[in-house]
């Protein structure tokens, strides 16, 4: 089946899979967003316990999706993996440290004799929520704004600056995407609490918080998107592989792929509907599904315009011709074929995740459960 596809078709298939993983990851970052709201929404110990337990039952999905996204990028586009991780050393290390400290915090926070105290682990969760989201957004921002690397004829790379990728924070467009991800994660977290926790105070504070996260989110998101549509992009000549700057490249990509444009618009409407309806309706709890679905659609479409329609998905601003495309950065035809067969199990994985999610979420987290449950975070 897959072996009969062309190399390009397989490369596109894998860019779609990676983009999907990336967009699901952004949705699942509601866990990180929630970690920055523990004290803002939870005013008593019990409220904070409910919030942390609501997040604690989902953090591993986010973590696993991040790890799988990394593995899938390595398998399908190893030149991106070796170039970006090996060059933007400090950006990725900072992101990884944010996630390392998160992984223990839920389990250790409330355990007696945890040495460093509950506050330390709550601070870890906050750092993960704040820096983890912003830095991930900034890292993805370099897909559009480029990064400072060089690749030689043996496909070995090195970074052109001494800052190991941290120079990306000086680009306002990258920062705008970082902040977009951060405020979006907080917005989704509020919607998640409204859906997952049976507590009036938490519900009303989460609803109020929608405004505080929603407005800055819309501001930075609009700034990012408008600038993206107006900026020059990194176009690849399909015949020669030569990379050049093209005005309105990402707008052209969107117009050249109407399905992607529809996805983008549909996603934006989904997020706005989830946000506005949840804010206006007194008892509405389904907003997370509209905003979450919308998030996946928007991020997915952004990944597609970064890599499709003859575009360099990881452009080099140090040397245009070092830029990575889904064609020059990918694995071989054989490896992509083998991996494509593996990808057929993804629907089964999604099916059991949905099944288990529903089984565990069939009852909302409430006071009674917190008082009787033996395994608490």
């Amino acid at each position: 089946m897959f072996e009969n596809l062309s190399h390009l078709a397989l490369q596109q298939y894998w860019w779609i899979i990676d983009s999907l993983l990336g967009s699901i990851l952004v949705f699942l970052l509601f866990v990180q967003g929630g970690q920055t709201l523990i004290y803002r929404i939870g005013k008593s110990d019990m409220e904070r316990t409910m919030i942390i337990n609501a997040l604690g039952r989902k953090w591993e999905f986010t973590f696993t999706t991040l790890v799988t996204f990394g593995g899938a990028m390595f398998a399908s586009f190893p030149l991106f993996y070796s170039t970006s991780f090996g060059g933007a050393y400090w950006v990725w290390m900072a992101i990884l440290f944010c996630f390392i400290i998160q992984a223990v915090s839920y389990e250790f926070r409330s355990k007696p004799s945890n040495v460093w105290g509950a506050k330390t682990f709550e601070t870890f969760l906050f750092i993960n929520g704040l820096l983890g989201t912003i830095l991930l957004g900034i890292a993805v921002g370099t897909f559009f704004n480029g990064a400072e690397f060089l690749v030689n004829d043996m496909n070995q790379s090195h970074w052109a600056t001494a800052f190991g990728g941290l120079e990306a924070v000086l680009n306002i467009h990258n920062v705008a995407l970082g902040l977009t991800v951060f405020f979006l994660a907080r917005l989704l977290a509020s919607l998640y609490f409204m859906n997952n926790i049976e507590d009036e105070n938490i519900y009303s504070r989460s609803r109020k918080q929608l405004l505080y996260s929603g407005i800055p989110f819309l501001v930075v998101f609009l700034f990012f998107v408008i600038r993206l549509m107006l900026m020059k992009g990194f176009a690849v000549d399909p015949a020669t592989g030569v990379v050049s700057l093209e005005s309105y490249k990402y707008l052209h990509n969107l117009l050249a792929m109407p399905i992607v444009a529809l996805l983008f618009l549909g996603g934006v409407i989904g997020v706005l509907f989830g946000l506005i309806k949840s804010y206006l309706s007194a008892k509405y709890t389904k907003g997370i599904w509209f905003a979450g679905g919308g998030t996946i659609m928007v991020v997915f479409s952004l990944f597609l315009i970064a890599g499709f329609n003859h575009t360099a998905f990881y452009p080099s601003i140090a040397d245009l011709q070092s830029s990575l495309t889904i064609q020059n950065a990918s694995s071989s035809h054989y490896t992509l074929t083998a991996m494509s067969y593996v990808s057929l199990i993804v629907p089964f994985v999604i099916a059991y995740i949905v099944y288990v999610w529903r089984a565990i979420n069939n009852k909302k987290i409430d006071l009674e459960e917190m008082n009787t449950e033996e395994h608490l975070y």
Partner: protein
């Protein structure tokens, strides 16, 4: 290709990888083994309905959760470190090595992380049967995740199923099944898993012994000992069998590693196995990694038997490998000097190929490709000048191997004695034995880490056997950055380890009557 190596960068990158990998490995084996021990305990609860077994299951599950979290925390860095610190490696073999990591995520990590939620929070939310299935799926998922990374590691020790593509300057996968079912990978997987189960069994046995010494939770402890001892005995015997298979496979594919773990400099027919040995502090003058024995006790012919199931077979030593030899299968192995010469030809041919391609000289490119293919088998040797540079640290390999094997035998004895004493209902009176079991917990960790030292130090200077030396695999980054992250990891991981140990000790002290809290 890389023309200049920064030895300091290579050393710090290796130190960081060793630090993070060894920290991660403190937690993984307990997760792998305890997951199955818990699943067995819950199965007994499911079958008997005895609430005591539910309490036992929940207690060990709490310890599992604490250990699992820190295993996850220390694990994420390893996946990304291949890119951050070993980017040349990531490109040279990424076409092969990346696939197992992706499959690991899709197939195993999601299974683990999804069903662990049911395992911890589903007691009152799902049926007993669904809960039991979830516990088993967590065990299977965590063990599946080990499968893929160990297959990848096995491939690094014995690269099969690929071909070098000079156009892209990387190795490309030609046969997925050759890689998945490579005897090296399969042996490594089975040996690592069974030894991890052994560690987990020693852990459960040790903690239970502490309760018996303190005369608390006696019934709970005895029941746990029965499960752990049976599981541990089965696993440790299987560890010996898989280790035995590994030895025969290593002598063929990595003869230098085999010679190093035995401290064998000059090979012979009917070679003896060093049962116990002490090496000199100073080197023997040939190379910094080579030290002679001050003292050793040998079992005659045993090494030949272990390697070839023939007590009179020839086993090559370090000097034989350096000078060239013919093995028992009649295969002639060239001297290292010859391999270096071939490696240099391969590297030159690759450069010529690239130059010819750029210049559009098809004939020259074709000839260069032929030269490259003829010499590629020893590509990595081209980066060395001194043949003794391919000798791994012998004393470290030797001691690690012998400690691992010696401790493995000790654990088998522990499991057998535990079962005998339990059967005769004498275990509560045998304080000396209970203390010995308790103090065997750290020894199980020592044995497990030694196994990895043997595997990874024994294969130096290679990151991919014969094809890529470790020194060419590093990222082209600033050594100061690596030094900083090394100390950051050291600080963070040590801080987390201290917290983990204190939490575990507190939970153990509280015992099963508090629901593990």
């Amino acid at each position: 290709m890389i023309e200049h190596f920064d030895p300091s960068l290579v050393d710090w990158s290796r130190a960081q990888f060793a630090l993070t990998a060894m920290y991660h490995w403190i937690f993984v084996p307990l997760t792998l083994g305890l997951a199955f021990i818990i699943a067995i305990m819950e199965t007994i609860y499911f079958k008997t309905g005895d609430s005591q077994w539910k309490k036992i299951t929940k207690f060990w599950m709490t310890l599992f959760g604490i250990n699992f979290a820190i295993g996850v925390a220390t694990g994420i860095i390893l996946e990304f470190e291949f890119g951050t610190n070993w980017s040349n490696y990531s490109w040279f073999v990424g076409d092969i090595f990346g696939a197992p990591l992706a499959v690991e995520g899709i197939m195993a990590f999601f299974m683990e992380s999804t069903f662990i939620a049911v395992m911890f929070f589903g007691w009152n939310k799902v049926s007993k049967r669904f809960h039991l299935v979830s516990t088993w799926l967590v065990a299977i998922g965590s063990n599946l995740s080990a499968l893929w990374i160990l297959i990848a590691n096995g491939w690094m020790q014995n690269p099969v199923g690929m071909k070098f593509n000079p156009e892209t300057a990387r190795n490309e996968m030609m046969n997925f099944w050759d890689i998945l079912f490579s005897p090296t990978g399969v042996n490594k997987f089975l040996h690592t898993l069974s030894s991890s189960y052994t560690l987990a069994a020693v852990f459960v046995l040790g903690v239970s012994s502490w309760y018996l010494l303190k005369k608390v939770n006696v019934s709970f402890a005895k029941k746990s000992i029965v499960v752990a001892a049976v599981f541990g005995l089965t696993s440790s015997v299987y560890t010996v069998l898989t280790g035995d298979n590994s030895a025969r496979e290593i002598v063929r594919n990595q003869p230098m590693k085999f010679a190093a773990i035995e401290g064998l400099y000059d090979g012979s027919a009917g070679a003896g196995l060093v049962a116990f040995g002490v090496m000199a502090e100073s080197t023997n003058g040939k190379h910094k990694n080579m030290k002679d024995f001050n003292f050793k006790i040998e079992i005659p012919n045993m090494l030949s038997y272990m390697a070839y199931l023939d007590g009179n077979a020839f086993v090559p030593g370090v000097n034989d490998i350096i000078n060239g030899f013919t093995d028992n299968d009649g295969i002639v192995h060239p001297s290292v000097n010859q391999k270096i010469e071939m490696g240099k030809k391969a590297i030159t041919a690759l450069r010529t190929f690239k130059t010819a391609k750029k210049a559009g000289d098809k004939t020259m490119a074709e000839q260069a490709q032929k030269d490259l293919e003829a010499n590629f088998k020893y590509f990595g040797y081209g980066y060395f000048d001194d043949p003794y540079d391919i000798v791994p640290p012998i004393s470290m390999s030797f001691y690690s191997f012998h400690m691992m094997v010696g401790l493995g035998m000790w654990f088998i004895l522990l499991f057998i004695i535990s079962l005998v004493y339990i059967y005769k209902d004498l275990i509560t009176n045998k304080k000396w034995f209970l203390r010995a079991v308790l103090w065997s917990i750290p020894l199980a960790y020592v044995a497990s880490e030694c196994g990895w030292i043997v595997a990874e130090m024994g294969r130096q200077p290679w990151v991919i056997q014969d094809l890529m030396p470790t020194l060419t695999a590093v990222s082209n980054i600033d050594v100061v950055s690596v030094k900083i992250t090394f100390f950051l990891f050291l600080t963070v991981f040590t801080g987390l380890l201290i917290a983990e140990i204190k939490i575990l000790l507190k939970q153990i002290k509280n015992g099963p009557n508090h629901g593990g809290q």
